[in-house]
Symmetry: C2
DNA sequence: AAAAAGTTTAACCAAATGGTTAACAAAAGT
DNA sequence: ACTTTTGTTAACCATTTGGTTAAACTTTTT
């Protein structure tokens, strides 16, 4: 009853909304612009999603669900720390090159309404640092990596991978490189970031 | 003619605008809200700054002028690389703990209108990477630090210092720490970040 | 084929928003 | 003293914005 053409509209709305919201944020996005982007009447947005807020939340949750599994990889997989770092840096950077507005969108809207993270935390597969902390503490005890708080290491991994995309306009300006060269730098970072981290923590 | 009480209003507007814009961004901020925050009539905003856009630009430029000198410290001072990294991490993190909304505001608005960076680039004391690049390349040639592109090292320094504040809501959620503990982590980072970077690049 | 349910549109609406105006008050200049 | 300039306010305005409605069209059900 809703698997043929019907779903198309609902899906197109979500996609159009994704593009507009990710570019302009909740406050900057206009319902009319989303409707135009989807090529449909504005009333349809309300027909399928009731309000701007609910449409936004649908977009946000979808965006977050694309990132969360990657965070789970580093927090909950059974690989060694170094393998995790290499895998994550490689996968995440490849992913974001394809979806350049995603991280900024998520970070930005979480800053605008930090209470939103509580809704996400409540969901079942929300990534959690506990396993990673134990792993790091063990490896430190074994003398394999330098002493460092698991939280700090995790923050460093996130920072080195995520920030170059969020801060791209600023970094492009400061390093004085054009878009093409900057993209090359990002591709280099797929391995560069992991090397940088591992050089810092590895003892052997 | 405008140094006594007159300037106070203009100054109060700028301060109120700073608070509102930094919280809500250009799109989310309301002129009425800024006027209320400043405790004055909305017409005064236009009397002193003509339009929302111009008021915003005044706020943005002021914000950027508070950050730029710190970037210059790492790019153009005469200290050694390690000293620069230690100084910058320490100073920058201390600074941002006092002005927690600043980096997010700047990064966010640069993403929203990347052409804005061109206006900033044109200004005389805009930080530039050239000197830093030569310094890094020399130290690599001398065998003092590991081979790394100056741009990548610079991006790493920025990422490790700036991201923990921009990504705070997400990182607090993922690491499952409360605000107070997170702030402690940030204070630790004044030295932690520098150690982490130097461990990674130092050869001797 | 007729009724029912679901989808789409154009026109409309009230509230919010950036900006203006005209009148008034306070300083400053003469 | 009084004129001019500067600062301030309340009321107002045009446009934009999120959201609604009623009617039309399409698909599904019976």
């Amino acid at each position: 009853m809703n698997k043929t053409k019907d779903t198309t509209t609902e899906f197109e709305i979500l996609n159009a909304a994704k593009r507009i919201f990710q570019h302009k944020g909740m406050a900057g996005a206009r319902m009319q612009e989303i409707a135009d982007e989807a090529g449909i009447n504005k009333a349809m947005l309300h027909y399928y999603y009731r309000s701007k807020q609910l449409l936004f939340e649908a977009v946000f949750k979808k965006a977050f669900s694309m990132i969360a599994p990657q965070l789970n990889d580093i927090l909950n997989s059974d690989l060694s720390i170094c393998e995790k770092i290499r895998d994550f840096s490689n996968n995440y950077i490849s992913f974001v090159i394809k979806h350049p507005y995603l991280p900024n969108f998520i970070i930005q809207e979480l800053n605008r309404s930090p209470e939103f993270i509580q809704k996400l935390l409540a969901e079942k597969h929300f990534p959690n640092i506990e396993k990673f902390r134990k792993q790091v503490d063990n490896k430190i005890a074994e003398g394999i990596i330098r002493p460092i708080k698991a939280e700090q290491l995790f923050i460093n991994i996130m920072a080195l991978n995520i920030f170059p995309f969020i801060g791209a306009p600023l970094l492009k300006g400061l390093t004085n490189v054009d878009d093409k060269t900057y993209k090359k730098l990002m591709i280099e970072r797929k391995t560069e970031v992991a090397d940088f981290i591992i050089n810092s923590i590895k003892l052997t």
